[in-house]
Amino acid sequence: MEIISTLPPELIRMVFAVIIIISFIFLNAIMMGYLERKIAGHVQRRPGPMEVGSHGILQLVVDGVKLVGKELLVPVNVDRTLFRLGPILSFTPVILPLLVIPFSEKLQARDLNLGLLFIVSMTSINVMAILVAGWGSNNKYSMFGAMRAVAQSIAYEIPILLSMLAVVLMANTFSLKEIVGAQQKIWFILLQPLAFIIYIISGVAETNRAPFDLPEAESELTAGFHTEYSGMGFSLFFLGEYTNMFTVASVATVLFLGGWHGPTLPYGEYLGIVWFFLKVYFLLFFMIMIRWTYPRVRFDQLLNFAWKYLVPFSLVNILITAVVIKL
């Protein structure tokens, strides 16, 4: 106990935050996996998982146990170091962005004054993981997936940044807490609808979700970059994907949907998290619906769309924003 009291309180706070966030990541992946399968089921007029627990609510827990229990296969002739590094690299950086996201006024692990930049830099490590996994697998399909992921990521980082920049111009800060604070009166989605749309589209592309799921394009590349992975290796990618989705949705909430703002609740500075989560999961629901509705775009169409539509529109948007603010 004495050692703890000698530690700086900030460190203890961070350790707690990391523990909470890691457990939340697992919970989120389980919830998202369940939601995705249930929604997919109902969209397709079938019930989805029904067997484990009431309405299959424990299905993902069981699946997780199964995945953990599976043998970790390392195929011959792969680059062992990179092959093992891939999943870890995909999982680790996704924890970090959650540290700076303000879930409510007082629920934030750490408010960085460059929080937005921190998130952007951390989420882009994910593509590194895909590249490492694809290269290390020594499989042509995996390699295709990796190359696609890199090109896709480069193309979509730019409109994401530009659409964020429009908000930053409005709020005049990079700190997420202050951006939310600036939306006290009016949410930025009303002032920046174009930026919001661009952000959501690029965000879906950034998380490699359908219709932009080219790195794993099932019907073309069997499973893309994670073709060779089994058991925990696969599930870390799975965790990474869902956490990334959560991050993208939370950032959208922070930037455009007024973060924790909503009708006043008791203990508002803490319970704002309710509003925050409602907004995030609404966006996630939307992302899931998209996946189960549209066909996959082709690779060059994806890049064309980014360079011909998203980048010019976001540039125009910034220009207009800047001019209006200056006036």
Partner: protein, 147 residues
């Protein structure tokens, strides 16, 4: 340039339309059933593997062991044997087996039977761990029903 914008607006609208379809489906009732818990009634015309007809009057089979089905079967999956029983003029059926692993359910045997002694069963829940499980003893199946 015109195409550039028309793609954007027409395309955008088509995407919204598509989303409306799936959102509507999300609220509609399911069309599937949870199979082992619920089962859909199967049509009485379903053609499963063959069975011997139980003649309600005689309370036994109608088969006269003529072997027409055995000869007509394209997959040679029926095996039939008759034996002489004392006191009866004709042969009596003593063995009727079906190798269901080979049967292609064409129904030739049922149609060719001169005494209409064969029918299709209605069983479709067929699964087993060994091939031998599908070597049915049709005569035994009938005898079980006689009681």
């Amino acid at each position: 340039m015109k195409r550039y914008f028309s793609d954007l607006f027409v395309g955008g609208k088509s995407l919204v339309d598509g989303l409306v379809v799936t959102l509507k489906a999300l609220c509609q009732p399911m069309v599937t059933v949870q199979y082992p818990r619920e089962e859909i009634d199967i049509t009485p015309n379903f053609r499963g593997h063959i069975d011997l007809v139980l003649d309600p009057e005689k309370n036994t089979f109608r088969c006269i062991a003529c072997g027409m089905c055995e000869r007509s079967c394209p997959s040679e999956c029926i095996q039939i044997k008759g034996k002489k029983v004392e006191g009866k003029k004709k042969k009596t059926l003593s063995l009727f087996t079906l190798d269901f692993t080979k049967c292609s359910l064409c129904g030739t045997c049922v149609e060719i039977c001169p005494t209409q002694a064969l029918e299709f069963s209605n069983e479709y829940n067929l699964a087993a761990f060994s091939r031998e499980a599908f070597h049915y003893d049709i005569l035994k199946r009938l005898e079980e029903r006689i009681i």
